[in-house]
Structures are given as structure tokens and as C-alpha cells.
């Protein structure tokens, strides 16, 4: 999966979108970083929900946040709630191995726009990116 037709434009019409990978697993952070990079998406990685919140507190904006659920310090549910409470309107996609409906429901209700089960694949990422394009014309 290499760039081209799968690259998205962000809400401001920029050709590169920016993403934030939030995952406590270094293996997953590295894979997700490379998946995004290969799709032409600039991205940063952080290791827990608090770092994700702090990344926004310093004024950064991301079109897409890939949020793991189970993390130390601050988990993905709490981080998603905090980011929404801060007014962050980025597309937040939960990425987790949790498969129980109740767990997915709680994560979605925290403010997710999408939910994907791990392991994340290029195809799943593309489906998330398409939502960025769709949401760019839909007010939140």
C-alpha cells in the first residue's frame, strides 16, 4: 500500500494530513508509525493517554488520532474524554484488541469516531482515512 490515490487531504485542503499514534507498546507504535508514513501521513507517537493530551496542550493539531485503549498512566477512554472536553475535533479512531461489545461501547461513548480491532492493517487505516475526507464537510 503506497500513497497515491489513498493519500487524503485534510480539512484545510493541505495535501498531507497529520496523525498521532497513542499506544504503550513500542512494537505497535513502530508498526503504526510505518503504516502511516507509507501512506504519506506525517505522524508522531506517544506512549499513553496523558502524553496524547499533553501533545495537544502545547498547541499541536492532528487530523487523526489512533488511540489504544489499555495504557498506563491514562488509558484511551479517559484520554478520549479529556481531548473532547478540551474541544479537540480530530478524528479519533480507537485501536484495540478488546472485542467485548460493552468495552467497545464504553470506548465509543468516550468520543471516538471509529473503532478498529488490532492488529491494524493498511486496509483498516485507509477506511479510517476515508472518514477524514467525509467528515471534512460535516460539522461536528
Amino acid at each position: 500500500m503506497r500513497g497515491g490515490e489513498d493519500k487524503a487531504v485534510n480539512k484545510d485542503g493541505r495535501s498531507k494530513i497529520r496523525a498521532l499514534v497513542v499506544d504503550d507498546s513500542m512494537v505497535n507504535r513502530t508498526i503504526h508509525h510505518k503504516l502511516l508514513e507509507n501512506l504519506g501521513i506525517e505522524n508522531q507517537v506517544v506512549g499513553n493517554g496523558k502524553e496524547a493530551v499533553d501533545a495537544h496542550s502545547s498547541g499541536n493539531y492532528f487530523d487523526l488520532i489512533l488511540m489504544d485503549m489499555d495504557m498506563p498512566v491514562m488509558n484511551g477512554i479517559e484520554a478520549t474524554r479529556r481531548l473532547r472536553a478540551m474541544g479537540v475535533r480530530s478524528l479519533i479512531a480507537g485501536v484495540t484488541t478488546r472485542s467485548l461489545e460493552q468495552e467497545k461501547q464504553e470506548f465509543m461513548e468516550a468520543g471516538l469516531d471509529d473503532y478498529q480491532e488490532k492488529p491494524l492493517t493498511a486496509a483498516k487505516l485507509v477506511s479510517i482515512i476515508h472518514k477524514i475526507n467525509q467528515s471534512s464537510s460535516t460539522p461536528r
Binding site: M26, V27, N28, I31, K34, T97, P119, T121, A122
Partner: protein, 142 residues
């Protein structure tokens, strides 16, 4: 040994890993597709990262089973993280063993947890050996 022969051996070894259930074909293939000129050894690097990280997690799981009382919640948390990384590299048999361990953990079955943790360690070690041999062959094939 000529390069074509080595490449055939590499392909044979990889297919064996898939056919014998050690690796998930789709997931491992996706990792390979992430390799490019800038990161020609990406898969080997990820696997190395996985083994460095997972060794620590196994040690932590073993420690939870030594402590009294056993903290099954903590064990499940560590196992969840370990399983997540294992599935990301397509470690199929390791993952299957983790699923068994998770069931014993949920049931708070100490003996079952100890036994299946040993199975997890075994599958983890076998895969490591197979992958080390595979990557050595990949390097030789250039």
C-alpha cells in the same frame, strides 16, 4: 550456493512458518510490505523489538505467579499487552497459547496459569529460533 537457490530456500522457510502455524500469513506479509529502501530490514527490526519487549513481559507474568496472593488482574493486564504485540507480528502459536492462558487467568486457576505460561514461553522460544534462522537466510540471500 547461488542467490536463486538461497531465495528459494528463504521462500520455503517462510511458507513453512505459515503452513506449520507459527506465523499468520496475512499479518507477517503486511509487515514485509512495509519494508522499503529506507527501511530494508524493517521486519527483522520489529521482530527484534518484539523479543526484547516480550522477554520483559514474560518475566513480569512469571513474577505475578510467584507472588502471594496472585494478582490475576495484573497478570491479565500484562498478558493483554503481550498478546497485543504478539498478534502485531503475526505470532500465531504464541497468540493461541496466550488465549489459553487468559482463560485460566479469568478463572483464577493458578495451576492452569502456570502450565499455560510455560506453553507460551515454549512457543515464544521456538518461534524465536525459527525466525533467527529465517533472517540469517534472508541476509545471506541479500
Amino acid at each position: 550456493m547461488d542467490r536463486n537457490h538461497l531465495l528459494r530456500q528463504v521462500a520455503y522457510m517462510k511458507n513453512s512458518l505459515f503452513d506449520q502455524g507459527y506465523l499468520d500469513r496475512e499479518q507477517f506479509t503486511q509487515l514485509e510490505e512495509l519494508q522499503d529502501d529506507a527501511n530494508p530490514n524493517f521486519v527483522e527490526e520489529i521482530v527484534t523489538l518484539y523479543y526484547n519487549d516480550s522477554a520483559r513481559l514474560i518475566q513480569n507474568m512469571e513474577q505475578t505467579l510467584v507472588n502471594r496472593p496472585i494478582d490475576f488482574v495484573r497478570l491479565e493486564e500484562i498478558l493483554h499487552q503481550f498478546k497485543g504485540s504478539s498478534s502485531s507480528i503475526g505470532a500465531k502459536k504464541v497468540n493461541d497459547a496466550c488465549t489459553q492462558l487468559r482463560e485460566y487467568c479469568s478463572a483464577e486457576n493458578t495451576e492452569g496459569c502456570s502450565r499455560t505460561l510455560q506453553l507460551v514461553k515454549q512457543e515464544h522460544a521456538v518461534l524465536r529460533t525459527r525466525l533467527e534462522t529465517y533472517f540469517q537466510m534472508v541476509r545471506e540471500a541479500g
